[in-house]
């Protein structure tokens, strides 16, 4: 056992990536290799510290370590609340788990990036952005104040924007980056309003204090409901929940390691983290909680359906991510705080592994289109083996990691809300089906030739695909270990214990006690296996024809291919018609009415002036006549106003 971690060391977890961000930016930018090593080195050290944090938190039973906040900005107000913003760390069981996820996946992805990004002209820039991301993500999960959390929350969004648009010469990438930022910011409007509301009502930003006030019943349930829904709007943006999920599939335009780290394992779970962090609020605000469950269930289902029809392997994984995030939200909404975070933990490893595997495939074939792959099992045995393990884990096959966490969610749903339980069970089937569809299309059958590289393509000759270099394979192999084993971490309630310790005592008592349910475990496993068999029949053995099925359900197929027409609705109607149309109307108003009036007034004076100028003839007679007329007029007025 190590001694309890000092506060300074915890801060250094945050400062290490900041240091690498600044150093690369200022010093090592011209030396790409050095920039890469620096990023790996700092995040490696941060990972070791994260283990130390975990050790200390286990010793404290998951309760927050006793760190003090530091004053950052104070405005003493004669009326109303003082504005006090403090900078402090909240390190408890939840933080420790998140730290572990973020630092370990980051470390492996950064190692992998050394190979994947090799030779890219923006190699140093890539690591600048990656360091910025790591900094913001670590800040997000460690701070104790909701407004500081919001700061890091937005910075995470910024790094995501920069990394999605990393290859900014591609119009699709530039567009996807902008879409991601704006859609998530739409959710952030809700989050910011929630923060403003809670400050107006309580005068504090401190997360622990808000929780205490809420649990003690000192904030009205209505306020908490609005607060909770506002926060969920933010979370729905970041964690790609329906109807704000549309940015995540497009975000796949970024480099694949970015997709693995940011758009699968870490950033997109920030929303889940936020809801979990504020879980005591939702225990009080039931309506907000049930909304989250309903939206989570919807998201899980609709995204899994979309994953059935896409042919781009990264988009299959993207929809899978959305679906699994919906799963986590569903769990949170049904009170399964532990189950959600446990699933977050297992998902991070196997989903990062899947993405890195798809990157490895892309390295060999130069395409993400599964129709141009096939037969890669023989030439890429390591990639195949690890991809298969991760898929089995995601499908929830016993005894891999995904099985355990999925099982907990299903058990919670069974006890709480039957309808959502059946939705969740349906998603289990779909998940197994689409993952093995991807495996059969990519790794089995005949090789379809890949795609010719463009100027800045990665990897070698797509005509002769080959296994990726060891710097990419080692992270795959290492990730496969937790993808298999991490599920056992909670087999005797270890994860549950430290996660529950992060909650106030009152909330902790209300948590579900996890009961292993044989019927659910066996039933869901059977369904997962049915999904795998189904995929085999369609895409492996090809005894059934997927074309025939899609023809049979043509309208549904179109609906899925067009992504439920959501992009058309958002871009075509909301943005182009309503927003830009409205703006065009206003622009007309501005030029013709607002400015028109101003110019009109000026014109009147000019016209009046030129009229009056005619009077200035310079002839004394005219002036005399006018003076006389004026005198008469004045006399008349005086007479009228003061009759004698």
């Amino acid at each position: 056992m190590l001694p309890e971690i000092p506060e300074g060391v915890v801060w250094s977890i945050l400062l290490l990536p900041i240091g690498s961000f600044i150093t690369i930016l200022m010093v090592t930018r011209p030396y790409p290799k050095l920039s890469g090593y620096m990023t790996v080195g700092t995040i490696g050290l941060a990972f070791l510290f994260a283990l130390w944090v975990l050790d200390s938190v286990i010793a404290s039973d998951g309760q927050a370590l006793p760190f003090q906040s530091h004053e950052w900005l104070t405005i003493n107000s004669p009326v109303g609340h003082d504005l006090v913003v403090n900078l402090g760390l909240r390190v408890d069981g939840l933080t420790a788990i998140m730290l572990l996820v973020v630092t370990s996946v980051s470390l492996l992805v950064q190692v992998y990036s050394q190979g994947y990004m090799a030779g890219d002209t923006g190699y140093s820039r890539y690591f600048v952005f990656m360091s910025l991301f790591t900094t913001s993500m670590l800040g997000l999960i460690m701070v104790d104040s909701i407004v500081v959390l919001f700061v890091f929350w937005e910075l995470v969004g910024l790094s995501s924007y920069l990394l999605i648009g990393f290859w900014f010469h591609k119009p699709a990438a530039a567009k996807a980056a902008m879409k991601a930022f704006i859609v998530t910011r739409l959710g952030d409007v809700g989050l910011l309003l929630a923060i403003i509301l809670i400050w107006v009502k309580t005068g504090t930003f401190d997360i622990a204090e808000i929780q205490e006030l809420a649990v003690a019943g000192l904030i009205s349930v209505n306020v908490l409901t609005v607060f909770g829904l506002g926060m969920f709007a933010g979370a729905a943006g970041k964690s790609a929940q329906f109807p704000l999920h549309v940015w995540l599939p497009d975000a796949m335009e970024g480099p694949t390691p970015v997709s693995a780290l940011i758009h699968a394992a870490t950033m997109v779970v920030a929303g889940v983290y936020l809801i979990a962090r504020m879980f005591p609020i939702y225990e009080v605000a039931d309506d907000a909680r049930m909304t989250i469950a309903a939206i989570g269930g919807t998201t899980a289902l609709i995204a899994a359906l979309l994953a059935l029809v896409v042919v781009d392997i990264k988009r299959v994984l993207a929809y899978s991510t959305i679906s699994q995030l919906g799963y986590m939200m569903l769990a949170l909404g049904l009170g399964g705080y532990v189950a959600a975070i446990f699933h977050l933990l297992t998902h991070a490893f196997f989903k990062a592994l899947l993405f890195l595997g798809s990157g490895s495939v892309n390295h060999a074939t130069n395409t993400f289109d599964m129709r141009k792959m096939g037969g890669l099992r023989k030439v890429m045995p390591w990639t195949y083996a690890t991809f298969l393990i991760a898929s089995l884990s995601l499908a929830g096959v016993f005894p891999l990691a995904g099985f355990w966490s999925k099982d907990e969610i299903l058990s919670d749903a069974w006890g709480e809300q039957q309808a959502l339980f059946w939705v969740a069970l349906g998603v289990v089937f779909l998940t197994a089906f689409y993952m093995f569809r991807a495996i059969f299309m990519t790794f089995e059958g005949e090789y379809q030739g890949g795609e010719e590289p463009e100027e800045e393509g990665h990897g070698g000759d797509p005509a002769h695909p080959h296994e990726s270099p060891w710097v990419m394979i080692v992270p795959l192999a290492v990730l496969a270990v937790p993808a298999v084993l991490i599920g056992f971490a909670n087999i005797n309630g270890g994860v549950e214990h430290i996660l529950a310790g992060a909650l106030p005592a009152e909330t902790r008592e209300g948590l579900h006690e996890f009961q292993f349910n044989w019927a659910i475990a066996l039933g869901s496993s059977a369904i997962a296996i049915a999904g795998i068999v189904g995929a085999y029949l369609f895409y492996g053995a090809k005894v059934l024809s997927s074309q025939a099925v899609s023809k049979a359900v043509r309208p549904l197929h179109i609906l899925l291919e067009r992504k439920y027409f959501l992009d058309d609705l958002y871009e075509g109607i909301f943005v182009n018609r309503l927003l830009l149309g409205g703006a065009a109307l206003l622009a007309w108003f501005d030029t013709n009415i607002v400015d028109g009036v101003a110019n009109g007034v000026a014109g009147t004076f000019r016209f009046g002036g030129s009229g009056l100028r005619l009077l200035q003839t310079g002839q004394v007679q005219v002036y005399g006549a006018m003076a006389f007329a004026g005198l008469l007029l004045a006399g008349g007025l005086v007479f009228l106003l003061n009759p004698l």
Partner: protein, 489 residues
């Protein structure tokens, strides 16, 4: 010290005018010396400023017209409080920037830099004068240099724009002067001294107080500018030379916000309370209207000009909250917007110097050829859309927190405005900076000269420093706002 701040620029201007034609290359050096000195002096002032003391410091009095001669007093009365000091630092900083980025002005440089410095005297006077008449004099002094700077060194419809700027402002200041006179002569005791007016009895004024309040308010609202009095701004910006745009957006608009806080709000607090909901509604309308208009713009300068209308709406929203947090936020927003928008104009100026177009539809892929300019522009844009860790976010958050309790709807509109700002900024960045390379811009140089890089780096440093640790500046602003907020209870 304050007198030096006000009149040293005009001394510099006169010296520059005495330069012979063949020495005109020294004009910019002299101008830089003057603004640089003033920047240092204002920073010294910032250091010497007593953060524990409310109200005016470093005051200077001189009776100009005495009561026994004319029946009323007009004093030369300068003083600085937290509010003034913030604006003074903004002014000296941005004028230094403006001189630097004018380094390549070839056309009649003597006059150009002389007018620039004359303009500075006017602005400084407005921020330091504590007497209504002197305030008004300095307010008018600013007009003429600005008119010439736009109409001689501008581009496009420069005479039209310069005249429009002049007429809008004069119309506003006519109302303002009427308001000043009504206020000063009917107060008991009758005085032009702003400090004394705050204690004066205003119960016997000839017009209803709200009428006087709005006479003065409109004068400032034109400058801010507030919808629907804003249409001079896009024209003036589009046709002004880069440095003048920087000053216009960065400093001159702030005279409006500063004036509202300094005169109508602090002298007539009760009237302000009665009409606060009107001010908040106008602010919300400006925020939304400005943002929507910005979405339609395809000229980079017009885009920034309309975004200023939206951003200055936040200033008015913070003021309308009439609370400590809101008004401090409004002041910080003025400072922050000054630097951020200044930087945006600097960057657009650099792009225009090279490509000779400001049309967003023409530009594409500049990030390939001009990484430094692209970085500056993107960071300035991010600051403008209120990204945390930059100054705009802190200011806007304070405005929202200050206003939310009293004006829920305008606050929600304000937060939505931030979403729209993300829309127009990122759209602009995507069109101008990203996308495929354009061979037309392939040979153009990046921002490599020192007089381009130094202002850029300095402005970014200020934006990020205030964003990461605003307390240093907020402490000072607070001392100016506290007495004001106390009177509004």
């Amino acid at each position: 010290m304050l007198t030096f701040l006000v009149f040293f620029p005009v001394v510099g201007a006169i010296l520059i005018m005495t330069l012979r034609r063949e020495d005109e290359r020294y004009a910019k050096v002299m101008a830089l010396c003057v603004t640089g000195t003033l920047l240092v002096v204002s920073l010294v002032l910032f250091g010497l400023f007593d953060r524990g003391q409310e109200g005016l410091q470093f005051t200077e009095h001189f009776r100009w017209i005495r009561e026994q001669d004319a029946g009323f007093d007009i004093q030369y009365f300068l003083g600085v409080d937290g509010l003034s000091l913030t604006m003074v630092i903004l002014t000296t900083f941005l004028f230094t920037v403006a001189v630097l980025i004018s380094w390549n002005v070839e056309k009649r440089p003597n006059e150009y830099f002389a007018w620039m410095l004359a303009l500075m005297t006017g602005v400084m006077g407005v921020f330091l004068a504590q007497d209504l008449i002197f305030f008004f004099l300095f307010w008018e002094v600013e007009l003429l240099p600005m008119y010439f700077l736009i109409s001689i060194w501008g581009s496009g419809r420069k005479e039209y724009s310069a005249m429009k700027f002049l007429l809008f402002t004069i119309a506003g200041s006519a109302l303002m002067l009427a308001g000043f006179l009504l206020l000063a002569f009917s107060a008991e005791p009758s005085t032009f001294d702003m400090v004394a007016l705050r204690q004066a009895d205003l119960s016997n004024v000839v017009l209803p107080l709200p009428a006087i309040f709005f006479l003065i308010f409109i004068g400032f609202a034109v400058k801010l500018p507030i919808f629907p009095l804003h249409t001079w701004l896009p024209d003036a910006h589009t046709d002004a030379p880069t440095a003048v745009s920087v000053i216009l957006a960065g400093v001159l608009l702030k005279m409006g916000g500063y004036g509202i806080l300094r005169i109508p709000i602090s002298i007539m607090p009760d009237t302000a309370q009665d009409y606060a909901v009107w001010l908040a509604s106008i602010a919300a309308a400006s925020i939304l209207y400005g943002a929507f208009m910005t979405l339609r713009q395809t000229d980079l300068k017009r885009l920034i000009a309309y975004s200023s209308v939206s951003h200055m709406g936040y200033v008015l929203l913070g003021i309308a909250a009439l609370g400590h947090v809101g008004m401090t936020g409004a002041t910080l927003q003025m400072f922050s917007h000054g630097v951020i928008t200044g930087l945006l104009f600097v960057m657009v100026g650099m792009i225009y110097d090279r490509t000779h177009t400001r049309d967003i539809n023409e530009l594409s892929g500049l990030a390939h050829h001009m990484p430094i300019i692209a970085t500056g522009m993107i960071l300035a844009g991010l600051a403008s859309l209120g990204l945390p860790a930059m100054s705009g976010f802190v200011a806007e958050l304070m405005v929202f927190l200050g206003a939310a309790d009293r004006f829920a709807a305008p606050t929600i509109i304000g937060v939505v405005g931030i979403l729209l700002s993300a829309g127009y900024v990122l759209w602009m960045v995507r069109r101008v900076m990203f996308g495929p390379k354009d061979p037309r811009w392939a040979e153009l140089p990046d921002a490599t000269s020192w007089w381009e890089q130094i202002p850029m780096a300095a402005m970014l440093a200020v934006i990020i420093a205030v964003g990461i640790y605003p307390a240093r500046l907020v402490d000072v602003i607070e001392q100016g706002i506290l007495p004001l907020a106390a009177r509004l209870l």
